[in-house]
Amino acid sequence: MTLIEVRDVSKRFRIPSVRRDTVREHVLDLFRPHPSETLQVLDRVTFELERGETLGLMGRNGGGKSTLLKVITGIYPPDGGAIVRRAGITPILELGVGWNPDLDAIDNIYLLGCVMGLSLAELRGATDEILAFAGLERFANLELRHYSSGMAARLAYAVAFRAVREVLILDEIFAVGDAEFRERCQTRYRELRAAGHTLLLVSHEPRTIAAFCDRALLLEGGRIVMDDDAEAVADAYVRLLTEGGGAAPAGGGPH
């Protein structure tokens, strides 16, 4: 059964040459021209994700990977095309940043856990487990402002791994924390895969994609240029980097 269908999805961002973020700037510049450039970040992207499948997503920086994940998750609306979601999605995106610094780890776990779909009862039962996964039991009552970026990221991944729904979307999951934490993440990933969860994994690391995915997509300039066996796509990505130069193609770009 197809759980996620991405059909001809396009996404573009308008980048003004002069940014106007305030009412004052809009009023004062009312009669001045507002030139802007349009960045086509995703261009008619089409693919399907089957139940129980592990799909890798590769591409150079600025290729549109993060935007595609946000569009699939529903955080960004697409400008064209359609997305059909037949299952709940847990995204693990940009988790290294964004906490309430005035709250301790436990309250932040509740805040992020609720947003990710966990109920209060589940959170009450899972708080110790989340702290243990992150290796932060000793700092449970410490305000997040005193956490290092690595500690905050570990805590975020621990919450997200506990909140997993049917489909899990991971952005550079194995690049966080020390070797021990990365190993814990990989073990959890294998458990989820063995349990039949559907997984979409983004990575710049060809070995990671080859080892953890069945199939992979190569995204280049906002388009899918390859949809094949994970190892073949990982090889193609390496060739793209070595033969095609390091610069991101025109059209792609982070927002």
Binding site: G74, I75, E94, A195
Partner: protein, 277 residues
């Protein structure tokens, strides 16, 4: 369609859960999210202590004593001035505080907007919680004081007062829904609103009785939402008088229009707010 249920092992398809069960789960999840936002907001603002909460009340209380000391001489002929002043002050403090936090709500919780798909209006609606707690405690204290002083309060007049506060909340929510999404685009909207609320303090009849102004101006003053709420609340609590039916209809329409327009602006602009984080 987002779903709430998740499992570690094995996963289950969302579409296979019975609709009634899904609605129940989503309702429980929403309630949990609102409770967590209210609780953590309280904790952040008042350091999780009653002492912190009381400390925050010092501002309107101090304001009351200063204004009372200054203006009770000017309006010495009005025996209800003290009560009217404190009701006006606290109701305006609620409006000012709730609209400010409502306007800032989405940007203040911007770190959550890009994490997952969830009903973001919850962030806006729950932002008024601290102001609502303060207003509720003030209302209870006020009614107790009035009863102790021997004011002839009836259930109906207290009920009307509560009804006015609910409409006040609808107005604040409507404003917050619109302002919070617009603030994602226009980053000086909070400064503009601060100027408006400062000016609005003098438009609303807080420190002066409305009667001192010509009657032809009253209609314009009533367009500013805190004015009818204040005047009606004072009428039922202090004067023991019930405003006319037309006055009630006016307030209900005003509350519905502000809430409706706010919800419409939110609905139009909110799908793209994560792009402005």
């Amino acid at each position: 369609m987002p779903e709430i249920a998740r499992t570690d092992t094995p996963p289950t398809a969302t579409g296979t859960a019975p609709p009634a069960l899904r609605v129940e789960r989503e309702g429980a999840h929403l309630a949990g999210l609102i409770w967590t936002l209210v609780r953590t907001d309280f904790k952040t603002r008042y350091h999780g202590t009653i002492g912190g909460f009381l400390w925050a009340l010092l501002k309107p209380v101090t304001m009351f004593f200063v204004l009372y000391a200054v203006f009770s001489f000017v309006f010495a002929s009005n025996p209800a001035y003290k009560l009217n002043l404190i009701i006006g002050l606290f109701l305006y403090e609620f409006f000012s505080e709730a609209t400010k936090t409502g306007l800032l709500s989405l940007r203040a919780k911007g770190f959550l907007l890009t994490k997952a798909r969830f009903p973001k209006w919850v962030l806006v609606v729950s932002s008024a919680s601290n102001a609502v707690i303060t207003l509720t405690l003030f209302s209870v204290a006020l009614i107790v004081v009035l009863l102790v002083q021997g004011h002839p309060l009836r259930f109906a007049t207290v009920g009307l007062f509560v009804w006015y506060q609910l409409q006040y909340l609808a107005i604040v929510t409507g404003f917050s829904l619109a302002a919070s999404v617009l603030f994602m685009r226009f980053r000086d909207l909070n400064q503009i609103w601060e100027v408006v609320t400062h000016a609005g303090f003098f438009i609303a009849p807080i420190i002066y009785p409305l009667d001192i102004l010509p009657e032809r101006l009253h209609l314009y003053l009533y367009l500013w939402p805190p004015t009818p709420i204040m005047m009606f609340s004072r009428a039922v609590l202090v004067d023991g008088a019930v405003p006319s039916l037309a006055a009630h209809v006016y307030l209900a329409v005003e509350a519905l229009v502000v809430l409706g327009v706010g919800a419409l602006i939110y609905r139009t602009a909110s799908p793209r707010i994560a792009e402005y984080v």
